[in-house]
Amino acid sequence: MIKFLIKGLLRDKSRSRLPIMVVAIGVTLTVFMHAYITGFMGDTIEMNARFTTGHVKVMTRAYAEDASLLPNDLALMQIEELLDSLRSLYPDMSWSPRIQFGGLIDVPDSAGETRSQGTAIGWGLELIANQDELNRLDLQKALRSGHLPRKSGDALLSHTFAGKLGIAPGDEFTLISSTMNGGMAMYNFRLSGTVHFGVEIMDRGSIIADLKDVQLALEMENAAGEITGFSNTGFYHNNQAEKLSDSFNSKFKTDDEFSPVMLSLSQQGNMGQYVQMSEVWSAYVSLIFIFAMSLVLWNAGLLGGLRRYGEVGIRLAIGESKGHVYRSMIAESVFIGIAGSVTGTAIGLGFAWLLQTYGLDISGMMQGASLMMPTIIKARITPTDFYIGFFPGVISTVIGTLLSGIGIYRRQTAKLFKELEA
């Protein structure tokens, strides 16, 4: 009997191949969309983490309140000691002090007169002491000309920014900014190289220099605006990050507005909403998918069912019970659901893998975007992708059949024949 049903299923293409294709297409879309959105959201989160927020970030309470203004007068002091305790308390994280600042880049001519000027956002990063930040920001890959800073006084500028200012590696320029104490800061740098990250706001007008130089320039010895922390796993985990900052804050935070406070990525700016969105959207996608696919398959099932009234009628006449016919149709749908879902998951993962490996350059669409978003879209395949399409695929096929089969099940046997003869 089972063999008989399987033969029928395999030979009747409109009964097997068509629904399998419908399911496979739906599952493919779901898996691919999930990997794509996970990749895009994950990349956006990691990019924000790498360039601005860290997975967690330590600041003074006062600095944290106005962090977007980069108030370096409220920076952390005695950072060597703070770094020591962070590194011993949380060894699975890597910690890097940073100074973010605003300033003016002034390029002199041979006579010392201003040749060109431009406003810049600056990063003072540990570039010479260790490789962490170089790797994190993938500076070697971002380098368009010249070399990375090797010694004190070396600095990088955004590639297009340097072009606008008309300077090339080897040329000197002056950073004009304000010191931690509110005085005027002027510091001479040598352009060692130019960089392009593919991140709109980083590529507009940035200066990147070694932390020590920036500390000197802004009179921030043993001080830094922030200490960023990154999980050694490489990816942001919201729960872990929030637990970590809770633990830190219970130890270090006091009423003093200069006491250090740790914020997770989700606790900074509007990243929280984004993180939340990235956590729930996949549930929505699969719900919508189940719903839409059930509808499609219900209708496909109704059509198939109508077409099969003849078959159902004759099976009933020969003495098969209605329950048995109905159950065999459901068993068929389980088979179809599994076959379609396996196919769809494989194809979806294939497409996702392509997008994960090669990426899609959308920098053309990102011109002028102020949000920090990746200009190359990459999918990210996570374990979820192996079941996010699979279960909805099977469930919706079965639901579709359950719904369409009821029509046959509840019809009077004799009536099936009337419809059959018509």
């Binding site: 009997m1 009628g313 004759i314 003495g319 024949f417 059959l420 003869e421």
Partner: protein, 234 residues
């Protein structure tokens, strides 16, 4: 010759809802059928032939009165009991053959035996025998779309007969066939009727079928108009 009554219809009515009123398709029928009959329900379209056949085949139930088939009261069977009656004792033949198109001739004829859970070797023998009756042993691997109308109807007869049921119900079995094929299948059925003592009840208005019958029940507007037993020496 002693004959056994296998179907008994008493004061039976069948009504169908039609809008707010009801339509009476069968009215106060009283009929007995004996084992081994080769009987036809004869009448114009709409006279109630199919309706009566469906009730006798436990595909439908009487509205009023009693229809007893092989000792079972049709109106009182639940769906499972009705399915069991059909499975064990009834064979159906339809105007439009109703073969399963994706299955081979062998599989189509085998299907009733699968439901009866007959072991595979025995099944094979029974299917082969049934196909010999209808002269289609050479088409065992073919599928219905490759067969002519006459051949399809012979497969349907083999399928109805393979389990040697007590009763075969045939609704306009020759309606789609030419004269030669009609006579061929009628002779086949008559032979099976005589050899296996299978009872046949036809619904028909085809003169060719009528000429083979040994009892003719004329229906008109859901009532028995005439009921005559024929003795002929064919």
């Amino acid at each position: 010759m002693e004959t056994q009554t296998i179907i008994s219809v008493k004061e039976m009515y069948k009504r169908f809802p039609m809008g707010k009123t009801e339509f009476t398709a069968l009215e106060n029928l009283n009929l007995d059928f004996a084992q081994g009959e080769f009987t036809g329900l004869i009448g114009p379209s709409g006279s109630g032939k199919t309706t009566l056949l469906n009730i006798l085949g436990s595909l439908d139930v009487p509205t009023l009165g009693e229809a007893t088939v092989l000792g079972k009261s049709i109106g009182k069977l639940n769906t499972h009991e009705a399915a069991m009656l059909r499975r064990e004792s009834l064979g159906f033949i339809f105007q439009s053959y109703n073969l399963l198109a994706v299955h081979t001739v062998f599989e189509n004829v085998e299907f009733p035996l699968l439901l009866l859970k007959i072991p595979s070797q025995e099944r094979r023998k029974m299917v082969q025998e049934a196909l010999e009756w209808v002269g289609l042993s050479d088409k065992i691997r073919s599928k219905p779309p490759q067969l002519s109308g006459g051949q399809c109807q012979r497969v349907a007869i083999a399928r109805a007969m393979v389990k040697k049921p007590k009763l075969v119900l045939a609704d306009e079995p020759t309606a789609n066939l030419d004269a030669a094929n009609s006579h061929h299948i009628l002779k086949t059925m008559l032979t099976l009727n005589q050899e296996l003592k299978t009872t046949f009840i036809f619904a028909t208005h085809d003169e060719k079928v009528i000429s083979y019958l040994n009892r003719k029940i004329y229906l008109l507007d859901g009532r028995v108009d005439k009921d005559e037993v024929v003795t002929h020496n064919k």
